[in-house]
């Protein structure tokens, strides 16, 4: 028994860094500022059979007439629930090809779970408040959303060649997504991929005491 545990530790913990690599992806804008809310997707050149994680339920909250989070990565089969934490009604909807839906949510209400089964991008809006926008990127690849520091780390990548693709809500519509090929080798040394994005203004409408959104 002890020998088996020792072997398992060697394979999972100790031996891991010897054959798995790390990829660090940094996103910045043309002024050199870190870019948050970018989705970084890593696709191996030679896909290997990976266990499919069990579907989970994701949440999109609405606070202060803002969808939280703004950008989220979802795996096909995951469910999404929209929760209204505001004191006003929201009419959450999407006309995206990947998934179309609409939910009228009174204050404190949550939508029923909706399964997102088709890969693609789902743009979510509110028919009452046009400035509210959120994005759900449905993909079966490894993907992460950059925090405000603009950096994500992919650990435990099997050695090989990967295509790193970046999507951001402020990329010009119709423009090809920035991508690069990164070779992840054996060993503990991290590989780096840096992207500089040319961003257009934030699509979330600007609303304050001077500018009304009607």
């Amino acid at each position: 028994m002890r020998r088996r545990l020792w072997l398992a530790w060697l394979l999972a913990g100790c031996a891991g860094p010897l054959w798995a690599g790390q990829l660090v992806v940094r996103i910045s804008d043309s002024d050199g500022h870190a870019v948050g809310d970018a989705v970084v997707t890593v696709t191996p050149a030679s896909p290997s059979a990976q266990p499919v994680p069990a579907p989970v339920t994701r949440y999109v909250d609405q606070r202060d007439e803002t969808f939280i989070p703004y950008v989220q990565v979802v795996r096909p089969g995951d469910r999404v629930v929209f929760r209204n934490s505001d004191g006003t009604r929201h009419h959450v909807y999407s006309f995206s090809e990947a998934k179309a839906f609409e939910f009228l949510l009174r204050p404190g209400e949550s939508s029923p779970p909706t399964t997102l089964d088709k890969p693609g991008l789902v743009a979510v809006g509110c028919n009452i408040h046009d400035h509210m926008i959120a994005y759900l990127l449905i993909t079966s690849e490894q993907a992460r959303v950059t925090p405000s520091q603009g950096q994500v780390v992919f650990d435990q990548l099997p050695p090989g060649s990967y295509t790193v693709t970046v999507w951001h809500p402020q990329l010009r519509p119709g423009q090809a997504q920035p991508s690069a090929v990164a070779a992840v080798g054996e060993g503990t040394e991290a590989q780096h991929a840096d992207f500089t994005l040319s961003l257009i203004p934030d699509p979330r409408g600007f609303s304050d005491r001077e500018h009304l959104d009607y």
Partner: protein, 409 residues
């Protein structure tokens, strides 16, 4: 003035509990006080021929205006919108800027439609998208949009259809309206001006005293620009293309279809004629880095036929280019205006009408969400042949400087 302020304060008091308790009711507004260095010539608002809102050559503190805008989401698809304002000058007190009901059901396809009915601005202006139909860039809107704020309002219904594409959205709007029959009169009798004095329903516009006297009448002479004269329906149609990261382009045609022979009794028993007013309007906006560019052009005419077969036409054109620099709390803006009118039928060898240019430089500072300070200098250079009829030099040059403090609610 004290009574008007009291009325507006009363409206705020009545409405604020609504904003606090009803979940889908919102209330916003502004109040503006300013220090004005006015050009010497008497402003058109007070019956003069000056091209600016203020005149008389003084430096003095003025009440710049106040507005209150309320919305109520009656159902998920039905929105009620109303805006009232209080202005000084030659005015009647609180008046209604816009008031309409909009029905816009949710759509889970690329197409979305909506209908609105009531009183609303024809969608000409690219500048006036802030509370109370004000401009976030300057105190004074362009010549083109100054006129829209003075004489244009649609009282009727508008239908809108949008197609939200992958890369761009197309939008088509069309409206049928009445009660905008005197629109165009001001361009003919006064010419262009640059002023942020927007007129609401219930207010009266003043004709230049010199024009009124020349017509054998006794000034002051005022008229209601939102009055029905005849039973014709006016219409406008607008096609807009919008693409994120590229900009917006819109083309619009307006025709009030007024009968140029129709009239109604006006103040003092005088006749207020309907003016057949038509125009094309082209607008574009885009961003390059932190600079926002707005450009608009308008070309139209207005026709009156006070005596059968005696037709007077005023052709008018105006355009502007505005560059606004988005620097966070600081927002400088610079705008160039060009405007002209031409009276037809003309006298051989004489170009009767007006042509002029204006330059506006404004520096906006918003240290807080509730406060905007703006310093603006406006210089207008104009030549208008009709001034010679009143014993004045056709050419004028006026400079108006304003320092405004605007509080938002």
């Amino acid at each position: 003035m004290r009574l008007r302020l009291r009325r507006l304060a009363l409206a705020c008091l009545v409405a604020s509990p609504l904003a606090g308790h009803a979940q889908d009711v919102s209330l916003h507004g502004y109040v503006d006080g300013r220090l004005v260095a006015a050009p010497g010539e008497r402003g058109w608002v007070e019956g003069g021929l000056g091209k600016t809102r203020y005149g008389g050559g003084k430096v003095e503190a003025r009440f710049g205006g106040a507005a209150l805008v309320g919305t109520a989401q009656l159902t998920p698809s039905l929105l009620a919108f109303a805006g009232v304002q209080l202005q000084d000058g030659d005015r009647t007190g609180v008046d209604v800027l816009e008031a309409y009901l909009r029905w816009r059901p949710v759509s889970t396809t690329r197409w979305r439609g909506s209908v609105q009915a009531g009183a609303f601005f024809p969608p000409v202006s690219l500048e006036n998208d802030a509370v109370g139909w004000t401009s976030p860039w300057t105190i004074t809107p362009s010549a083109l949009n100054s006129w829209v704020g003075e004489e244009l309002r649609a009282i009727g219904a508008e239908a809108r259809i949008e197609r939200r594409g992958e890369n761009a959205t197309w939008e088509l709007r069309g409206a049928l309206f009445q009660r905008n029959d005197p629109a165009g009169n001001l361009l003919a009798v006064r010419g262009w001006s640059l002023s942020d004095l927007t007129y609401g329903i219930g207010s009266r516009l003043r004709e230049p005293d010199a024009y009124v006297r020349d017509d054998g009448e006794q000034p002051p002479m005022r008229y209601d620009p939102f009055r029905r004269i005849g039973h014709q329906w006016g219409n406008y149609a607008q096609l807009t293309w919008r693409a994120r990261g590229r900009g917006r382009l819109s083309l619009m045609h307006y025709d009030n279809h007024a009968d140029p022979q129709a009239w109604q009794p006006n103040e003092g028993g005088e006749r207020l004629y309907a003016w057949r007013t038509r125009f094309w309007s082209l607008g574009a906006s885009t961003d390059t880095g932190s600079i926002t560019w707005l450009a608009q052009a308008m070309d139209g005419d207005t026709v009156i036929e006070p005596v059968p077969n005696r037709v007077f036409t005023t052709r008018y054109r105006a355009a502007y280019l505005l560059a606004g620099w988005n620097r966070g709390a600081w927002r400088p803006a610079l705008r160039l205006d060009h405007f002209s009118t031409r009276e037809l039928p003309g006298t051989p060898g004489l170009h009767a009408g007006e042509h002029g240019n204006a330059i506006t430089a404004a520096l906006n500072w918003r240290p807080h969400d509730w406060l905007r300070l703006t310093f603006e200098v406006l210089q207008i250079d104009s030549t208008r042949t009709a001034r010679a009829d009143y014993g004045l030099r056709p050419h004028t040059r006026a400079t108006q400087a304003q320092l405004s403090a605007r509080l938002f609610y």
